[in-house]
């Protein structure tokens, strides 16, 4: 996917470099919520695999308060359902969801 920045362009352009690529193992950080977050509790602390790099955009924590922060790389991360929910009955099933760079750390 090409980057498609669409909403209003932020003033600052010191974009954070993309740290991960498809196939990398990452863990979702369990950071405190700064008033607003789109990082779901069920994924926090869980490890998964980068399925795709998507686009660069503001992080929700800034955007929610109309704050022009830096752009960050977003990724789609794939988890095993079994890793998200201990008693999940199938080994096979997966779940994907998206995170900006700062919520991820390398495993």
């Amino acid at each position: 996917m090409k980057d498609k920045k669409t909403s209003k362009a932020p003033e600052k352009t010191d974009n954070a470099p993309a740290r991960f690529k498809a196939g990398d193992r990452v863990r979702v950080k369990d950071l405190p919520n700064m008033f607003y977050s789109r990082t779901q509790m069920y994924a926090r602390g869980v490890s998964g695999t980068i399925a795709a790099r998507t686009y660069q955009d503001l992080i929700p924590e800034d955007e929610a308060f109309n704050r022009d922060g830096r752009l960050e790389q977003y990724y789609i991360v794939r988890f095993r359902q079994k890793d998200l929910w201990q008693e999940y009955p199938s080994e096979k099933d997966t779940l994907q969801t998206e995170f900006p760079d700062r919520w991820l750390e390398p495993v």
Binding site: M1, K4, Q40, Y55, S90, K92, D93, T94, T97, E98
Partner: protein, 246 residues
């Protein structure tokens, strides 16, 4: 029970209960901001009405056409999977409409999820209601319900079974929780027995539910009709029942 229906003065002064429209804080906020914007001349009430009517008129037909075209044209399928927003232009759908940067909350990041006989995708937004509106229109009520949102990520097989879709254990189910700025749509597997069908005939069996991933397209299924099952323990209101309660 009727016994509660006694009138002290003998008269019958029932007033019709007022019709109370349930309205959420967010709806109040939307009305307040909208009225301010109109007062300040950012847009007119007529602009707002026109936009609302345009947004409500978008249905899932564009999505059905994308799928039918992908099934019949391998080149288009490759372009659709590679760059969804650009491929949409080939069937006349511009994600930038009507503002130049898309409708509010429909960002221009569209990804099509390809099913295979061994992999089945289903979409949800656990935060609220992210949905590929330019190609599927407004989401159905149940898609936005907390019941669907919280249970689909946790128990996808059970929720799909409630829609009448029971998948064998060897098929991987992949839930796509779209809660940032990508919007997703499922490209189902083309059903057998449709080899000589035209794009129009194929599009007719690709219903909204097939593109959310809670149903599979098949010959003769051209509408999203969910199974209605009888309640296991229905509430009876037979006379015996009433007596026993007294």
């Amino acid at each position: 029970m009727q016994t509660a229906h006694k009138h002290a003065g003998g008269g019958h002064d029932h007033k019709a209960a007022p019709t109370v429209e349930e309205i959420t804080d967010f709806e109040v906020l939307e009305i307040a901001v909208r009225e301010l914007a109109i007062e300040h001349g950012l847009f007119t009430a007529q602009d707002h009405r026109r936009f609302t009517e345009w947004a409500e008129s978008v249905g899932p037909a564009a999505g059905s056409r994308l799928v039918a075209k992908a099934w019949t044209d391998p080149g288009f399928k490759a372009r659709l999977l590679d760059d969804g927003v650009n491929a949409c232009k080939e069937i006349g759908i511009d994600w930038a409409e009507p503002t130049g940067f898309g409708t509010p909350s429909d960002y221009m990041n569209f990804r099509v999820l390809e099913d295979t006989p061994r992999l089945h995708h289903v979409i949800v937004c656990t935060l609220c209601s992210c949905y590929p509106r330019p190609v599927l229109g407004m989401s159905p009520e149940w898609y936005r319900s907390t019941n669907y949102r919280r249970r689909l990520v946790r128990w996808p097989r059970e929720v799909l079974a409630e829609f009448g879709l029971i998948l064998p254990p060897e098929v991987e189910i992949r839930v796509e929780d779209s809660n940032q700025k990508c919007r997703f749509m499922v490209l189902p597997v083309r059903p057998s027995g449709t080899d000589n069908w035209t794009e129009e005939e194929l599009a007719a069996i690709v219903t909204r539910d097939c593109m959310i991933g809670v149903a599979l397209p098949r010959r003769g299924r051209t509408a999203d009709v969910h199974p209605v099952r009888k309640a296991r323990r229905p509430v009876h209101s037979s006379p015996q029942h009433g007596k026993a309660a007294e």
